[in-house]
């Protein structure tokens, strides 16, 4: 895993957002540096939803914040709509901000409890001095209606009068009011119940069509990311493991880590076959002292000597499928299945089409 390299990037003129060789470091105790994101490259085409998955601590939120320049990355470039955000000064960056917005995980703490919903949603318009009072009001009503809230009753209420799901819809309305091109959703449904989660996921799909949005959707839930994404990037310890369209990624994962993640998901079907644990026991290594070579090798069931010595580069293994692994599970170098101790076949069973 470890994947460095840029083989999975598309030509610069076809994408809205392009992240190249992104490094984000934080100071740690004893003068050391934690490398939360390390040599990460990704891109998002206009109108596309990029899903970013990984376990906690893998750097997905750090990546989102680096794109937002909150704070700017240590190294690397973030090219949004042809402009390198990391090279812009404060005011020129601020002028671009309406075009890229973010939705955070906890909807209740991201709304000011003392302000009315109408004012919260109108705030970005006021900051940018857009339209007259009446035009602003009409725009606020339009986005509130778009997120499934009744503007007439919602406008004058305060956040505590809404449930978590409704608050998340208010947060989404607030990001939409400036008509952004790119919306980054950082775990937007993780704090919500499943039934409410479905509301938000459907809503994001509708809004994407209605407003022509490009989304970066960050979550630790692989089933959610499969549902919303056009392209999925799996991260591990600050690096990219695998990038592929969702149906391909879940049908035929090329990276052992992707396969392990998919096998770990409990399927809500008691008839589903029991799956063997695909990971070596153990937790995420410390990003203060990442393993040499491939960062996943300490938990990888397929690790060889080469994995410790040499960091794998991202490379293509199939149509639109890219993996950073010396011994991927698909592609010309894929191991014969018999030597695979049933590992891959169990994946195929687990992710095949439903028989019911």
């Amino acid at each position: 895993m470890a994947g460095s390299g840029t083989a999975h990037l598309r030509p610069a003129d076809e994408v809205l957002l392009r992240i190249e060789h992104l490094d984000v470091e934080f100071p740690a105790a004893g003068g050391r540096r934690v490398s939360a994101v390390s040599d990460l490259s990704l891109d998002v085409a206009p109108g596309e939803t990029l899903g970013l998955v990984g376990e906690s601590g893998c750097g997905k939120s750090t990546t989102a914040r680096a794109v937002m320049q909150l704070p700017p990355p240590t190294r690397g470039s973030v090219i949004f709509d042809g402009q390198n955000l990391t090279a812009l000064d404060g005011e020129r960056l601020r002028m671009l901000r309406p075009q890229f917005q973010i939705v955070f995980q906890d909807p209740i703490s991201s709304l000011n409890p003392r302000r009315r919903v109408g004012d919260i949603v109108a705030a970005p318009l006021k900051v940018w001095n857009r339209g007259t009072e009446a035009e602003r009001r009409a725009r606020v009503d339009e986005v509130l209606e778009a997120v499934g809230l009744d503007p007439a009753t919602a406008r004058d209420k305060r956040p505590h009068e809404f449930s978590g799901g409704q608050c998340q819809r208010i947060c989404i309305a607030r990001t939409l009011v400036l008509d952004p091109k790119l919306v980054i959703c950082d775990e937007p449904v993780s704090a919500l119940d499943v039934s409410v989660q479905a509301q938000i996921l459907n809503l994001l799909e509708d809004l994407k069509d209605r407003y022509g949005l490009t989304l970066v959707f960050i979550t630790h839930d692989l089933a959610v990311v499969k549902n919303v994404s056009d392209r999925v990037a799996v991260m591990y310890l600050g690096k990219v493991c695998e990038v592929a369209p969702p149906d391909q990624l879940y049908g035929q994962p090329a990276h052992p880590y992707t396969a392990a993640l998919i096998e770990s998901i409990p399927e809500p079907d008691p008839a589903a076959p029991a799956r063997a644990a695909a990971l070596k026991a153990g937790d995420l290594p410390s990003p203060l002292d990442p393993p040499s070579g491939c960062r996943f090798r300490t938990r990888c069931p397929r690790a060889q000597d080469r994995c410790a010595a040499e960091e794998p580069e991202v490379r293509a293994v199939g149509d639109g499928q890219f993996v950073a692994c010396h011994f991927p599970l698909v592609g010309p170098e894929a191991p014969p299945r018999a030597a695979d101790d049933g590992h891959e076949s169990s994946v195929a069973v687990a992710t095949g089409p439903a028989t019911g």
Binding site: D150, A154, E161, V194, D209, K226, V228, P268
Partner: protein, 442 residues
């Protein structure tokens, strides 16, 4: 000290006259006395559990599943009224005082909580936390207790157990901490383990390991388990029986396979269908449950799910359904129009014809209809929680007073949205008019 030793012996000598039955809960109600009134967090729950079996307790936040497990254990604050009976191996737990309960906790019944960081003492070494119950209950000396602690850490697959005993919780990762919590819970060999969202704070790969660990430990010790979770996926693979809770009541209960193959309660079906599934193609439309659970201060008079239910009829709003027995043994549900029956199909068609927003939202998944449903719910006083602060909450339209122009406006937006039916049960009861379209599944 001497008194508590006696308690333990008395419990151990209790005759196993109750066969396989370990826990029997009868009509248990747990109400919180608050300044705003009585919050009916658990309202008339009955179930029983056999030795070595696992019951899954599923529901969304606020449905009373955690309060139920705490109520059975007797871990409740003082502002609570509790009725009904809890019988554990023939002994009425609800009639025991705090001192007597103390001898039950750990040795007979133990609990694993959701967040391992807050359930461990941050300033006490791991070893001391594991040996504490052993020394308290069994009067072991330190050497003996440490030996057992070491073997417990080994049995929950913690590497380098001897070193871990001298570490503090913050030195361990989340998954490792939860293993320690499990080791503590298992230390005195309980017959029943409550696992309250044991994996919710953990990553998926770690979750799989912890669930597997609980399963093997349970099998080795012939221990019964109540697995409290919001995740139907966890329940499907790790329980023998499932009870689905909604607004303080069990609304459906069945052996796990029966529940998933033939669910009767519209709430269970809706919950299952709102989960994104790996087996579905990406961009599959999810089913949506409108609104939110009722305020437990003042639950609706009829079926508690009726205000959100796509099938709800007048009878549902007026008369509370009892737990009805289904054809399969052990399958109970609480519904007048159970999913999959002709009555339910007709009810849904009637609701669709009358443009009831709950029904239309359930079929189309179109979120622009959510405002109408929520307004209707608040008008009916069903979601009166936060709206109780509001004087104009009652100004919203009632369920039948949906403005026609609003319905038309949202119909324009709903192009391309279609009722996806993830579960087989709903597919059979879908109305003829609803187009089912699942895009690009290869």
């Amino acid at each position: 000290m001497i008194g508590r030793r006696k308690q333990v012996t008395a419990v151990a000598d209790a005759p196993p006259a109750h066969g396989r039955r370990l826990l029997e809960v009868e009509d248990l109600a747990t109400h919180f006395v608050t300044p705003r009134g009585l919050v009916r967090a658990v309202d008339g729950v009955s179930f029983s559990l056999e030795r070595g079996k696992t019951l899954g307790l599923v529901g969304e936040s606020g449905c009373g599943k955690s309060v139920l497990s705490r109520s059975i254990m007797g871990l409740l604050p003082s502002n609570v009224e509790r009725h009904g009976s809890v019988e554990f191996e023939g002994q009425r737990l609800d009639q025991l005082g705090p001192a007597e309960l103390r001898s039950f906790w750990g040795t007979q019944i133990a609990m694993v909580f959701q967040d391992p960081m807050t359930s461990l003492n941050p300033v006490m070494r791991i070893g001391r936390q594991i040996t504490e119950p052993l020394r308290f209950h069994f009067d072991m000396d330190r050497g003996q207790a440490e030996k057992i602690a070491l073997s417990l850490l080994e049995s929950v697959n913690i590497p380098e157990p001897a070193r871990r005993l001298r570490q503090y919780p913050h030195e361990l990762s989340g998954g490792m901490r939860q293993r320690v919590v499990i080791a503590i819970a298992l230390a005195c060999g309980p017959k029943l383990l409550f696992a309250d969202e044991p994996t919710t704070a953990l990553d998926v790969t770690v979750q799989a390991q912890i669930l597997e660990l609980l399963r093997t430990q349970q099998r080795e010790r012939d221990m019964a388990m109540v697995l409290v979770t919001h995740d139907l996926g966890v329940v499907a693979g790790h329980t023998d029986e499932v009870a689905v809770m909604y607004a303080g009541q069990i609304v459906e209960q069945a052996p796990t396979r029966t529940l998933f193959s033939s669910m009767r309660m519209p709430y269970t079906a809706a919950l299952l269908q709102s989960i994104p599934r790996l087996t579905n193609a990406s961009h599959t439309r999810l089913n949506v449950i409108a609104g939110r659970p009722p305020d437990l201060l003042d639950p609706p008079p009829g079926c508690r799910f009726a205000p959100r239910c796509p099938y709800a009829q007048d009878r549902c709003r007026e008369e509370q359904p009892p737990l009805i027995e289904a054809d399969e043994p052990g399958h109970l549900y609480r519904c007048w129009y159970p999913v999959g029956t002709d009555e339910a199909r007709e009810a849904l068609e009637r609701n669709l014809a009358a443009h009831v927003p709950q029904a239309e939202l359930a079929v189309s998944g179109d979120m622009t209809r959510a405002a109408e449903v929520e307004a209707a719910l608040e008008g009916a006083g069903a979601a009166a929680g936060p709206a109780a602060y509001e004087s104009d909450g009652s100004a919203a339209d009632g369920p039948d007073g949906t403005p026609a122009d609003q319905a038309d406006a949202s119909a324009d937006e709903s192009d391309g949205s279609s009722g996806d039916t993830a579960g087989g049960t709903e597919a059979s009861s879908g109305p003829d008019g609803a187009e089912v379209e699942i895009g690009g599944s290869d």
